[in-house]
C-alpha cells in the first residue's frame, strides 16, 4: 500500500504531492483521533501524511512528545515477547522505543540465523508483484506468538555474531577503530543466564553504562596478540571497536537504564560458535524452559494503555 504511494510519488512531482498532502492534512487536523499514536494519518484520498506539524509556517512544529507516547510506541514496535519480572515497565517501553526506532540496534546486532528481517518481510525488498520477495509489513511465518505490529525478525533479535572485521586488518575507513583485527564479531545483546539472573551481554547495569560511556570492553577480546580479534595501534584495544558507543553513550542516564531494562526483558539467544583462532565473548547460557521458546510462563507480549502495561498474550 505504501509502496504504491511511493511509486506514484516518483511519477508525480513530489512538491505537488507534499503541497496537496499538506492542504488535505490541514483540512483534517481537527478530526485527529483521540487515541492517535502520533503516527501518520491516512486520508480518504489515500494520501498518507504526518499526524502533526501541518501548520502553514516555514518550519511547522509538532507538540513535543510526552514519554507516555514513546512508551506506547515502544511496546507497539517491540518484536519479541518480554519477561517483565522485576522490571519497571515504563523503562522497558522507552528502551524498546530507542532500540527499535532511531537506534536500529538490530540492524547490526541482528543474529546471524536470520538477520533483522526475513526476505519476505524486508520493507527494502521489491514486492512480490514486481518480481521480488516482499509480501507485506508484518510477520506472517515466524514463531508464534509474534507481535503483529512489529516488523523485525524475532528469531534472531539482538543475537549478534556477524563479522565486521576487515579481511586485510585495515582500520575502519570512517574512523571507528578495528585496526589489525580480521574478526570483529557483533556482540550478543540478549540476556545471559549464567549467573541465574538475566544480564544483557553478560554485563551488570553499572558495566553496561560504563561500556557505553567510555567504550571500555569488559570482555577484553581485543588484547591478545596473535589472535584474529587483536587490535593494533592507533586503535585502542581496551575499547569496543565499530560499535558507536561515543554517540549512544551520550544518551541520558534514564535512557541508558531503559535500554538495559529492555535488553534484560528480551528472550535469550545462544551465541553462535566463534571462528577458530578468535577470542570470543563468553557463550550465553539460556534457560531451556524459557527461551527462545516464546509464549512460555514468563514471556509475553504487552501493550501500553492509559499509563499501564496490558498483557496481550
Amino acid at each position: 500500500m505504501l509502496l504504491e504511494k511511493v511509486m506514484n510519488a516518483r511519477t508525480k512531482s513530489a512538491g505537488l504531492l507534499a503541497g496537496l498532502a499538506s492542504l488535505v492534512g490541514v483540512a483534517l487536523l481537527p478530526a485527529q483521533p483521540a487515541n492517535a499514536q502520533q503516527k501518520g494519518i491516512e486520508t480518504a484520498a489515500g494520501i498518507s501524511t504526518p499526524s502533526c506539524g501541518l501548520g502553514l509556517r516555514p518550519y511547522p512544529s509538532c507538540p513535543i512528545s510526552a514519554d507516555d507516547e514513546r512508551i506506547a510506541e515502544g511496546y507497539r514496535i517491540n518484536p519479541v515477547p518480554l519477561n517483565l519480572t522485576g522490571l519497571d515497565p515504563r523503562k522497558v517501553g522507552i528502551g524498546s522505543y530507542w532500540v527499535n526506532s532511531a537506534g536500529n540496534c538490530d540492524g547490526c546486532h541482528g543474529g546471524t540465523n536470520g538477520g533483522q528481517y526475513t526476505s519476505a518481510e524486508n520493507p527494502q525488498n521489491l514486492p512480490v508483484a514486481l518480481g521480488g520477495t516482499y509480501t507485506g509489513n508484518y510477520h506472517s511465518s515466524t514463531a508464534t506468538p509474534y507481535n503483529p505490529t512489529a516488523t523485525e525478525n524475532p528469531v534472531s533479535f539482538m543475537g549478534g555474531g556477524a563479522n565486521f572485521g576487515s579481511p586485510t586488518g585495515a582500520c575502519d575507513a570512517s574512523g571507528m577503530g578495528g585496526c589489525g583485527a580480521t574478526t570483529l564479531l557483533v556482540r550478543n545483546l540478549t540476556p545471559d543466564f549464567s549467573t541465574g539472573v538475566p544480564l544483557p551481554e553478560a554485563n551488570t547495569l553499572e558495566h553496561f553504562i560504563q561500556t557505553l560511556r567510555t567504550g571500555h570492553d569488559f570482555q577484553d577480546v581485543h588484547l591478545t596478540p596473535g589472535t584474529a580479534t587483536y587490535v593494533t595501534a592507533p586503535a585502542d584495544g581496551r575499547k569496543l571497536q565499530i560499535m558507536p558507543w561515543p554517540a549512544a553513550g551520550s544518551a541520558t542516564d534514564y535512557d541508558l537504564e531503559s535500554i538495559y531494562a529492555y535488553l534484560t526483558a528480551i528472550p535469550c539467544i545462544p551465541t553462535a560458535a566463534p571462528p577458530t583462532g578468535t577470542e570470543a565473548p563468553p557463550t550465553h547460557k539460556c534457560p531451556a524452559a524459557d527461551s527462545p521458546t516464546y509464549g512460555t510462563a514468563t514471556y509475553h507480549l504487552y501493550k501500553y494503555v492509559d499509563g499501564q502495561v496490558q498483557q496481550v498474550n
Binding site: V26, Q38, G55, S65, A66, N100, G103, G132, T252
Partner: protein
C-alpha cells in the same frame, strides 16, 4: 543533488502553495504546548550539549530542536554513517587515512601510540574544541559499496520546498517537513539514484550513472538507510529531527575522504559562530537548556 532538477519543474505547486500560505496566515495553527516531562527535558539538555555544530533557531521550536539534536547525536547515531569521517581532525582540513591528526577520535590511543587528545572535561563552553568534526557533520559521503551516505545538511540551492521564496534552510538539501516525513516513512529515494535491473540480471554498480539494483532489492527505496526502523519514531520526534537538521549549517557535499579525492569546502568558524558559505544567512549559535529555557552558551 540530482533531485534539484526535478524540483525546479514544480513551479505550479509553488504558486498553489503560495496561495495556501496566504490563507494559512489566517488559519495559523498553535505551536507545541504540551507539558514537558522530566525525561524529555533531560534529553533536550543533553541534545544541546551534544550538538557539534551551532544552530539557527529562527522560526523553530527551540525545545524540538534540542530534542532533535538528542536523537541525531545520541540514540540515532546518525553521524556514524552520514559523515565521511566523523571525528575531529586537528587543523580541520581533511586528510587521507593518515590517522595521526585525529585528536578527537575516541577509538584511538593517546600519544605516543595514537593521536587521541580529547577530554570532555577540558571542552570550553563555546564549542571551540570538538570530538565530532563539525566540517563533516552529517554531510554524508561515506561509501557503502552501492551508494555513499547522503548529505543531511540544508542546501540553499536545492530546496524542494514551496516555501523556497522565503528565507528557509530545510534539512537534507532542502526537504520540507511533509516530504521529509514521507521519505522516512516510505523509504523513497528522492534522488532516484538507481534503476531496477531487468529481471534476471545482476546489480550493476554506479549510482546515478547507469547502475541498477537487482531484485530482491527495491531500487525505488533507500537500501542502506534504516528507514524501516527510524519511521517508528513518533511523528513528533521525527519532526524534532527535521527541525534540528533544518537548523544546522550547510556543508558542501563531501566525497569519501579515504577514497577518491573529495571536493570538500570547509566552513569557517569564529568564536563559536559558523560563517557558512552555502546556507542562507542565519544566526548560528551554541545553546544550553537550563531551568526550562534555551539560552545561548
Amino acid at each position: 543533488m540530482s533531485a534539484k532538477h526535478r524540483w525546479k519543474a514544480t513551479k505550479g505547486s509553488t504558486i498553489t502553495f503560495a496561495a495556501a500560505v496566504l490563507v494559512g496566515s489566517i488559519l495559523i495553527l498553535p505551536q507545541s504546548a504540551s507539558a514537558l516531562d522530566q525525561q524529555t527535558a533531560q534529553r533536550i539538555a543533553a541534545g544541546y550539549a551534544a550538538t557539534p555544530v551551532p544552530v539557527d533557531l529562527t522560526g523553530k521550536d527551540p525545545l524540538q530542536v534540542g530534542l532533535g539534536a538528542y536523537i541525531i547525536n545520541t540514540t540515532g547515531i546518525c553521524n556514524h554513517c552520514h559523515s565521511a569521517n566523523q571525528y575531529y581532525k586537528a587543523g580541520f582540513p581533511l586528510t587521507t587515512s593518515d590517522w595521526s591528526n585525529q585528536t578527537g577520535n575516541p577509538y584511538f590511543l593517546p600519544p605516543p601510540n595514537g593521536p587521541y587528545a580529547f577530554s570532555k572535561e577540558k571542552r570550553p563552553d563555546g564549542g571551540a574544541v570538538f570530538q565530532i568534526d563539525p566540517t563533516t557533520f552529517v554531510a554524508g559521503g561515506q561509501n557503502f559499496g552501492l551508494v555513499d551516505s547522503k548529505n543531511l545538511t540544508p542546501d540553499v540551492n536545492g530546496s524542494v520546498s514551496s516555501f523556497a521564496p522565503f528565507s528557509v534552510n530545510y534539512a537534507e538539501g532542502g526537504i520540507d517537513w511533509i516530504t521529509y516525513w514521507a521519505v522516512l516513512h516510505n523509504g523513497v529515494d528522492i534522488d532516484n539514484l538507481y534503476a531496477q535491473c531487468p529481471a534476471g540480471t545482476a546489480t550493476t554498480p554506479g549510482a546515478g550513472t547507469g547502475g541498477c539494483l537487482a531484485a530482491p532489492s527495491n531500487a525505488v527505496v533507500l537500501q542502506v538507510m534504516p528507514w524501516p526502523t527510524v519511521r517508528q519514531l513518533t511523528d513528533s520526534d521525527l519532526n524534532a529531527v527535521w527541525q534540528y537538521l533544518s537548523s544546522i549549517p550547510c556543508t558542501t557535499n563531501l566525497s569519501n575522504i579515504n577514497g577518491p579525492s573529495g571536493t570538500n569546502v570547509a566552513n569557517t568558524y569564529g568564536n563559536g559562530v559558523l560563517i557558512s558559505t552555502c546556507s542562507k544567512p542565519g544566526t548560528y549559535k551554541f545553546y544550553k537548556y537550563v531551568n526550562g529555557e534555551v539560552v545561548p552558551r
